[in-house]
Subunit: 636 residues, 2 copies
Amino acid sequence: MESTARLSDGGQARIVFQPEGKRGVFPVGTTIMDAAREVGVDIETICGGKLTCGKCQVIIEGGMENLSPVTEDEQRLLDKKKAGKNYRLACVTKFYGDVVVYVPEESRGGEQIILKEGVELSVEMDPAVKKYYLELEKPHLKDDLGDFERVLNALKKDYGIEGVDIDYQVLRKMPDVLRDNDWKVTVSIWDDKEIVDIEGGYTAEEVYGLAVDIGTTTVVGYLTDLRTGEVLAVDSMMNPQVTYGEDVMSRITFAMQEPDGLDKLNDKIINGLNKILEKACQQANISPTKVSEVTIVGNTGMHHIFMKINPKHIAMAPYVPALHQSHDVKARDLGLNIAEGSYVHVLPIEAGWVGADNVAVLIATEPYKQDEMQLIIDIGTNGEIVLGNKERMMSCSAAAGPALEGAHIKHGMRAATGAIEKIRIDPETYESTYNTIGNAPPRGICGSGIIDAVAEMFRAGIVKKNGRFNLDLDTPRVRETDGIPEYVIAWANETSTGHDIVMTQKDIREVQLAKGAMSAGAHILMNEMGVDKVDRVIVAGAFGNYIDKLSALIIGLVPEVPLDRIDSVGNAAGVGARIALISRKKRKEANEIARRVEHIKLAVHPDFEKEFTRAMFFPHMEKKRYQNFDEIIRSR
Amino acid sequence: MESTARLSDGGQARIVFQPEGKRGVFPVGTTIMDAAREVGVDIETICGGKLTCGKCQVIIEGGMENLSPVTEDEQRLLDKKKAGKNYRLACVTKFYGDVVVYVPEESRGGEQIILKEGVELSVEMDPAVKKYYLELEKPHLKDDLGDFERVLNALKKDYGIEGVDIDYQVLRKMPDVLRDNDWKVTVSIWDDKEIVDIEGGYTAEEVYGLAVDIGTTTVVGYLTDLRTGEVLAVDSMMNPQVTYGEDVMSRITFAMQEPDGLDKLNDKIINGLNKILEKACQQANISPTKVSEVTIVGNTGMHHIFMKINPKHIAMAPYVPALHQSHDVKARDLGLNIAEGSYVHVLPIEAGWVGADNVAVLIATEPYKQDEMQLIIDIGTNGEIVLGNKERMMSCSAAAGPALEGAHIKHGMRAATGAIEKIRIDPETYESTYNTIGNAPPRGICGSGIIDAVAEMFRAGIVKKNGRFNLDLDTPRVRETDGIPEYVIAWANETSTGHDIVMTQKDIREVQLAKGAMSAGAHILMNEMGVDKVDRVIVAGAFGNYIDKLSALIIGLVPEVPLDRIDSVGNAAGVGARIALISRKKRKEANEIARRVEHIKLAVHPDFEKEFTRAMFFPHMEKKRYQNFDEIIRSR
């Protein structure tokens, strides 16, 4: 391109945007930003040309002499942002002749960010809430336009945004916020549709959201920067509903039997979330009222109780939820103390107990985009299992109970300091070695330790295929207490509790029930799908990262696959909640996939009893399910 | 058309809809309703083919033999509706060959209704809330679709409605309502966008709304049938905010000076509206929770206070409102006790004090569609004046005060039994004759009586052009009490109060101030518009119907026009609120006209003082304003 065309015919000039190559012809004196908007090149701006944010830096590749001169204000901002030579700000730079403009990665809208939390996923930043800084013309007698219309005009003029509504409570406070801040304000717009907040001054770079995973046992909140996707703080707590029942069914029963049962359960979780919100915000040193959106995932029971919807119908055949699709509810209607006009986005649910938490796992792991047949097991009090690939997806839920998380186990405990997290047993001597969290003297056994213990006891021959103890071994570690067989993992003098830490026959039984339910679910899905084996197993769940994969294989918690085909992705439900918080495209995907997954109801499946009974064995009653088991067990 | 094509080529058949003449070709076996929908003929149905409503009667003009036979159910409904020969129900009647169908007036959607309340206006019924009856398939294990999605599917199948959202509180109750009513329910949809209610059984013919006019002094609610436009009940009360100030300014001052002033004022009106709602519903024997929408009109001050928006900025230059355009707020956010998910539609405001009440007057009288130059004066505590035609519209507001409504007048009273509403004075004898409301002995004088009294006193020469009493007359009726001149309208022995009913010099002054403000406003608008005379004067306001037009002319409350060019339209603001309740098209028109009217601020207009002073005279200081005044006064 020649840059000689300083004034082209009729006062027009050409502009080319790299690296996309989009181009157009505009009247001379057009700003680079306006031209970009016109030809559909997305350049970041959050101050709308007020020379506040400096986000719209572009590199001039040709035609530098055809640009408006750099003003002092622009130069100051370029310096502050440490911009290189040939950099200009698109919002204020006008072109008077042909130019070639390169839009660098960091100035492009919809930046890709890479999430690495067990899963590794590239997500394009497109949160529902965006903030826009406005400097309004002050009204006077000859310009007495109403406040809301004045804001709308500025949004249109500075950002090309039209047709937005306003939340009633935000409308109420708007007149005072405008006047108290000299008509310089930042408005938050939700889903391009509605003004959900107005703040004084320039706050366009402070956009926060909270992603929440409501587990039956544990609730986690991730305070997230909605401009970068970065997690600023994490806070978690035991689900405060546990006082009304340990598993979902007992809580639903409570909701059904007590006249105000649902209200009480809902109160507990809402208060809990407000506490998480407060603590996470404290860590990050921001006010909870600066949080502009919340995303929620949880199983169907948690979902309904959170939304204060009577959960009884999901507990009775035909187990129909109130809704499948995602729903946006005003935070104030739910009682969450975030910015007043803000929404809570509750993710869609699949069917039965397979709820928004599983949908979150799916959008975080994307099995529906794969060729290979993947099995995803999300271990929790209520376990969810998904099998499929890009052709077809199936899911079921298995009431595993909280045993794998350490509950109902004599010396089970949560993953905290002093918890035995890893165990090995010498098959010759039956002696144990173990690691504890924080290398402290042991206090109990956490989830990964429990799976290790059972796998090692089986491998050493301390328990048999059917889960019964072998009491004929020559070791003091295998004994009976009050007629119940047990194995001593740590002697009293090694522990901080002053008593032996053991695994009992009853503990083994609890693990068998839990893993039997999960395994039966997986095998029923495989039968329904018509596959003998899966290509990959993905283990999700809060403690999925810590599970010894080989131990999981040995007890038959997962179907047989080569060890390197088992991936742990940690709390993928939480990751999915975070993804939904930063990407509207992924929300859409969530709604689509939630309806695409075929749901199998284990409780009424004709094969369930049979499969469950067989799956209680280590690794399974049917040898053909674990054809290479000898090899597997030898690989330790 | 030949009806021989019982089975046309490829199993297609032609259908023609009269009187519109729209036509199409469809597969044989299509229902008349489906074909009508496809070609864009709007046939009423509210049961969606459930054979409940019988609204979709059509007359078969040709091809009777090509139709599916009449079933027993259809016949029963046709009989019940007393349908004539050749009538069929479009929803269930299938055609297997060519047919000609006449859609009678009463079966067409969007029926025109004629409002006759001072104004006479034809409005097409198109309320924002419509109800749809659904009979859903019960879920079972092989069909476990969620409740909301099940409802959406039925809405699509039975009514062709797609893409609606649901109110959170309605979603919450949906599961129980469905199951408690054997999956037969009626849903209310607001603005084709959102399900705002769900009720058990068939309630599709019970759709109600409340239109409210919040006057500074009087609040009126019209309970309206949203299917017919009929007013089922009217209830009114004194604006309960009067305890905090008689006029808008004093209430705004209260809101500004008391820390919780706005809350108190808002509470008063919300509680008042809930009472009106309850009483009107009691009259009509329906539950307030059956009311699906409320429309609100009121001046800018009443508007802001109702919406709980700080009104101080509309009282201080440059008098900027929080918003101009209409706004839909959830009734629960405002505290109105109608159906839980419902909206309140607050009409748009113009500028200054010229608020939603004036916009309502405009959509009820439509001056912006006329060729002739119309002046609309809405008499109230705060008076609004609009001048214009289809080319241009201007408005202003005049602080008339409540004198013309009977307040601040020694023996003024509201229009109730015993109020003197009409007065004549013999110019020879100065004797008075009068009518009272209910023909009861007089207790006081209401608005129309006050205007009559002043006009007649002026005509008889009892008061002079400048408003001063002529104390030289030979009649005992003109006298001084405590040094203040007064005229006795009724002697004590005629009244129920036991004392004389009089008009004092101070009363005359109050009327002069009120009429002076209104008249000055009208003349300033005429100057701004550049017109010497208007073609028509429309008098609106609660008591506009009762004002003697000639008396209004004599005192100069209205500019000079021939007597037959003065129309009284009563409470046109209330009519406008009713129109907005039944027509979305008129809502749109309201938003458009609200922005089109040019607003003149009398308070800062350079000519106001001068015009006001001159307009205090009877009929006006400037003779040229009332060139034919002698003729006017002789016409009595």
